[in-house]
Symmetry: D2
Subunit: 142 residues, 4 copies
């Protein structure tokens, strides 16, 4: 298990803005708000491009933000980026994030970092702090 040396907020933001992530994912414009080893908080701006006909942020956006946040959380615990791949991600949608919110908050936590597998969970909160989506995920470290 990697020593939880952590990563700075600015180095995680650089990672987030780099081609490590697909351009379509970088369009989420996620912003690193808080970090400690194994835990990363991101701000997800709510913009019209992510709101569907029902007037709420689409689930696709929330799942994409959750998966992205977990890459950063695992990296923050490893002390730097290391190739990894999502094995599975399960998301439950508890409440919609209103399209009128300014931003949502995405909190990713590593629950266990093994030699070859990492387990984590991600919460998405709306602007009022209510739990909107809840993901659990397994990553393979390559």
């Amino acid at each position: 298990m990697a020593d939880p040396v952590g990563m700075s907020l600015s180095s995680l933001q650089e990672m987030l803005d780099s081609p490590l992530f697909a351009a379509w994912v970088r369009d989420l414009a996620l912003r690193v708000a808080e970090v400690r080893p194994g835990e990363v908080h991101l701000a997800l701006p709510v913009t019209a491009r992510h709101v569907h006909g029902g007037g709420v942020v689409c689930g696709q956006t929330l799942m994409a933000a959750a998966d992205t946040a977990m890459v950063l959380a695992v990296s923050s615990q490893l002390g730097g980026f290391q190739p990894m791949t999502t094995v599975q991600l399960q998301t439950s949608f508890l409440r919609p994030v209103p399209g009128t919110d300014t931003e949502a908050r995405v909190i990713a936590r590593v629950l266990r970092l093994g030699k070859s597998l990492a387990f984590g969970e991600i919460e998405v909160h709306d602007a009022s702090g209510r739990l909107a989506a809840h993901s659990t995920t397994t990553y393979a470290l390559l």
Copy 2:
């Protein structure tokens, strides 16, 4: 249970291109390739915007395509769009979709359509027809 009257390929494509889906999701440029009541096949173009630093289509794109395809599959079985919301979606990533593929195939099937809940599964195949991602999902009909 709704009578499986189905929907035409062109009316599903219209739905796909309408603001029912968020603009960011419409950027996937999904194309309806095949449809029967309760089952929809979509072509997912592989473009540079969806490929991450590892040279493969990012998982966020595959999950977004899977969720989108299921909305169409449920609608195709209902015989038209009806408000619905994703309750949960679980995706397993079996193999990467190479960034050099021209397109992937997304196949969504309704496994059960109840009065208030719909269950389905979605497969994403790479251009060689190999299973790349496999999702199961529950929708609530509103």
Copy 3:
């Protein structure tokens, strides 16, 4: 949403020992250890009957305990038993529970109780307090 009036520890234990649960599930010999509205802690005795050839508690036992605990957690928030059914349950297995442990701890929490759906998560801790299994689940209230 039901008023979180709660249920007493003894009334939950009675429910647990009643034919509401299948006899095979009652063989788990779960014991209610702690309760507040929407959260229930159970003790899961580790016995030879639940340990597989690898010397650890089998995953089947952990999933069964998790599902059972959530029925109690939802009931505790509703203030009494009400017919409900598991829609889906996803479990990640982070670490084995050693067959030499005396008991494991199962903690179920309701994350959201809606009119027709309830969402929750369940943690199973080994005797040393380490997270062994983590479930998320959706229930339908009938």
Copy 4:
């Protein structure tokens, strides 16, 4: 990837009845009904011990049968038992299995067998052949 040499029905039944599985799981009295490399069909007898107060087979039984069936399916593709552990298992419950059924059918299929991870899906059908539960799972090969 292991050569799909397969295993005989009787050697899988022997495995099923051995202490590889916990005694509590062997109480399910599962019977191997059909096998080919990577796919195993089990008969799950419906008995009063597995039926809950609602008059249907409890979900705990269906999840336990699903997990057990996948161990056999992976073994059948490997050509013999090899230590493995369930990483995650997600089950959707589509329809109850009536307590009046004589037996249910459990069908496990390996979707991909890699060097360190195996992916699969399991269907549980009631006696009328209707899909009652649907699981997807990831295993780690040790």
